[in-house]
Homo-oligomer: 215 residues x 2
């Protein structure tokens, strides 16, 4: 068991308490997606949830603590990303499909969790181990199976053995993450979002197989 939900001062939270707690998390998530992280205040979250700041501090040590909670929830969801790579084929035409679905699925996940991932990314970049770990959980859910796929192809002589499989997978996932984070940047380069998949997918295919994508 993960143990019951507890308040900061050690009480176990009952039905009503968990509801309040959840409402606070929901409101915080909402706030994160509408105002800059730096400006998210406990008092605003509490007000939005129709409760008082003191209540917030009953359930979370501070804003960061609550954010971590939301992030961990999201990290759990990220297991679904494994399916984008696990057991997929990279041979010929089906490899193209695999890479396209990977790009699509990954971008969609990132878009869905946009706001919280922004904060996680910042925290990780600033050297916070907890955020870093969460970010790794998300990226690993794709990077691990992808590295395995590369190793597999290398073993079968269908990919460049000189490349470090983990480094290749990591770079590609970084590519997807960054493209996902800054979709707006592309439009300002005159690139339409729909042009993004046709560009990223061949890069992924190229990185994994070392071959040019077939038409």
């Amino acid at each position: 068991m993960t143990g019951q939900v507890r308040t900061v001062d050690g009480r176990v939270a009952g039905r009503r308490g968990q509801e309040t707690r959840q409402k606070l998390l929901d409101c915080l998530r909402e706030m994160l997606s509408t105002s800059p992280y730096r400006d998210v205040k406990v008092i605003d979250v509490a007000r939005m949830a129709g409760t008082s700041p003191a209540t917030f501090y009953q359930y979370f040590p501070d804003v960061e603590g609550a954010v971590l909670e939301i992030a961990e929830e999201m990290a759990k969801d990220s297991v679904e990303l494994k399916e984008l790579v696990d057991g997929k084929s990279w041979a010929g035409k089906s490899g193209t499909t695999t890479s396209e679905e990977l790009v699509d699925g990954f971008l969609a996940f990132w878009r869905k969790n946009d706001a919280i991932l922004r904060v996680v990314t910042l925290g990780a970049a600033e050297g916070d181990k907890r955020f870093f770990k969460i970010r790794m959980t998300v990226l690993n859910s794709v990077a691990k199976p992808l590295a395995d796929a590369v190793k597999d192809l290398q073993a079968k002589g269908q990919a460049d053995r000189a490349q470090d499989a983990a480094a290749v997978a990591g770079s590609l996932i970084s590519l997807l993450a960054s493209a996902a984070e800054h979709q707006k940047a592309f439009t300002s380069w005159g690139v339409k979002i729909k042009d993004l998949k046709p560009t990223l997918a061949p890069l992924v295919y190229l990185g994994v197989t070392g071959k040019k994508a077939p038409k």
Copy 2:
């Protein structure tokens, strides 16, 4: 002329004033690289600069305003990045060198401006137009010449014409930016930093030319 430096209340800053202002900026830059953005307080910056919070507010509207200043300075420096691509050759072996130097130079620039770029990236992701513009200035200093290079190769039939040059360049720059931002992530994948260049450079080469990198 960019116009003289002015205080918030409109006075022109003299020699001494500019020194104080600069010292505040330097201390803020220092703070950004040692503590989380969310926790950077005016009072700490002022204390470190041996002055009072009121003085800070003479020169900057708020922390964000000062951060923008630092970011703009950095954006100016980013013109040096153009040299990494402008007039370089992508043919054969020298193409490999070009891509390697591009990766190296870009990662170095990002490492040098680590802290401020983190904040700029966050601001841009949160939709702040000013930060977004600064980020684009930095990325464009490489993306523009890179897109030109791709177009050039396409015209000469040495690259896939079906690809959108701007999208390719943008994706590759995104790749570099993201790898640069999260160099730590790679080490946790068991990838050494020195393995990063040999992985990224071929990807860049592949993206630009559509061909596998020569040995």
